[in-house]
């Protein structure tokens, strides 16, 4: 059996949520919009999964109740930037096994300055005990040092990372839902205030409040524009945090992900990779094999990404659209499904296959979770 995404929805991303905004409302808005996109009602849903850092004290069941969902399948995922792939992996199996027929995957967060500070101070035990007291407020410094390692290993320069940020901003110009859409020049990127050397402002995602959701069903056959899920793979704690962080867990699961999908990385017309920092775009495209192993990374960025001959993060990615907490993991899945369903508006591209990756949960020095999924357009 094949499982397909037949609807996507977002709760508008915003840097400055209106007073009184709460996480449950934000997620519910994304769910409502995804159901409307799929032509379904809440009563049609029998499976629900959610990921959020700020949903507490509520859990998935509270949200289901408050949305009036009567379910035979329910899950909550805690893996941040990798949560979409994790939820998708479980949901596909649940539909195949007959545990549910219509599953909504959702994620969202109220991520104002206070919520962000709370999140990064107590992200996990290792952060609370060994990083926050340094002091370190969020992962920028860790990814600054990872970027330095990657620059040395791959011979990349600030300009190379800048081309990724500048190109994603070009895509964002055509995404009304992105929080930053004004053109960014390479000079502006290079001259931006330093956050943590070598990272500047445009290397770091802007936290936003927002939500994302998709609707999954068993494939209905022709007549419904949809994004068929060809494969989902996940990797958790692949290297015990004992490496340099330049390889993600994708390196170990990509081969199986492509085999399951029945296509190779050269055949994808769209890559939506988790872009918490430009260095992680580079790392994931290489681990997925989308950047051919024999190709020079700087040349690949210049020839394929910056020219947009390979569309990467066509929503503008988190770097331009914003990082909505745990919804950041769903962001690329929503964008890939929209593109494959022909619903991407002015930034619509022509692609039959897309690869989506998730990455996240910094345990101590870098992210420990990675997911990949391969999608195919069908109608």
């Amino acid at each position: 059996m094949t499982v397909s995404i037949i609807g996507t929805g977002q709760s508008p991303y915003t840097r400055h949520p209106a007073p009184g905004t709460d996480t449950a409302q934000v997620i519910a808005r994304a769910v409502r919009n995804a159901l409307a996109d799929a032509g379904l009602e809440p009563a049609d849903v029998d499976g629900f999964a959610v990921s959020s850092f700020t949903l507490g004290p509520d859990h998935a069941i509270d949200l289901a109740w408050r949305m009036g969902l009567r379910l035979t399948w329910l899950m909550q995922d805690t893996n941040g930037g990798a949560s979409a792939g994790g939820m998708l992996q479980h949901a596909v199996r649940a539909i195949e096994a007959g545990d549910a027929r219509v599953i909504v995957l959702a994620a969202g967060d109220l991520m104002d300055a206070a919520a962000f500070s709370r999140l990064v101070a107590r992200y996990n035990r290792a952060t609370e005990d060994h990083l926050a007291p340094l002091p370190m407020n969020g992962p920028n410094a860790l990814f600054a040092m990872l970027t330095t390692r990657q620059m040395e290993a791959l011979g990349l320069s600030r300009e190379d990372y800048g081309r990724i940020a500048v190109t994603q901003r070009q895509w964002a110009a055509d995404n009304p839902a992105a929080v930053y859409r004004k053109a960014l020049t390479l000079e502006e990127y290079l001259d931006a205030p330093t956050v943590a050397t070598p990272l500047g402002r445009y290397d770091c995602v802007p936290p936003v409040t927002g939500g994302d959701a998709v609707v999954l069903v068993a494939d209905r056959g022709s007549g419904t524009p949809r994004a068929r899920v060809l494969s989902v793979r996940a990797s958790y704690n692949a290297d015990q945090q004992a490496g340099d962080g330049l390889a993600t867990g994708l390196r170990g699961c990509a081969r199986a992900g492509w085999e399951d999908a029945g296509i190779g990385p050269a055949e994808v017309g769209l890559a939506c990779v988790y872009d918490d920092y430009p260095a992680m775009v580079v790392a994931q495209l290489a681990d997925l094999g989308v950047q051919p192993p024999d190709e020079d990374p700087a040349g690949f960025i210049e020839r394929r990404i910056a020219t947009r001959s390979l569309p990467v993060n066509t929503s503008g990615g988190q770097l331009s659209a914003g990082q909505a907490g745990a919804a950041a993991g769903m962001h690329g899945l929503v964008e890939a499904a929209r593109q494959l369903m022909g619903r991407a508006g002015a930034r619509q591209i022509s692609a039959r296959h897309a690869v989506v990756s998730g990455y996240g949960m910094v345990l101590y020095r870098y992210g420990a979770c990675a997911t990949m999924s391969v999608l195919e357009a069908a109608a």
Binding site: H130, A132, M136, A144, R149, L199, A242
Partner: protein
């Protein structure tokens, strides 16, 4: 001057932050270990001037520290400390939970 990390009693693997089971041998018995030095691998200077570093402990894990008492370059060997107010000279400060400090030999 030193920083406390974790040593597996089964296979002597050095770990930080502390684990529940040894990732190498699977044992669950550990002892505190005083690591005295680390080699600076990367540093990053934050907007406010703070310098953080990744250091490799000889024969052990990589740790994240704040440099106190001055700057350091990659390749430099620095004394490690759990004391943010370490004595004069450049040190790599590694915060530990107060409960860990109580175990300090």
């Amino acid at each position: 001057m030193s920083a406390i990390i974790q040593a597996c009693l089964g296979c002597e693997t050095l770990l930080f932050p502390a684990r529940l089971f040894c990732p190498r041998c699977g044992q669950e018995d550990f002892a505190p270990f005083s690591a005295e030095h680390g080699i600076v691998e990367q540093t990053t200077r934050l907007a406010g001037g703070t310098v953080l570093a990744t250091l490799a402990i000889e024969g052990g894990p990589r740790v994240i520290a704040r440099l106190t008492g001055g700057d350091a370059a990659p390749g430099q060997r620095l004394p490690l400390t759990n004391d943010p107010n370490a004595a004069s000279g450049v040190h790599a400060y590694i915060p530990v939970h107060p409960n860990v400090n109580e175990d300090k030999p």
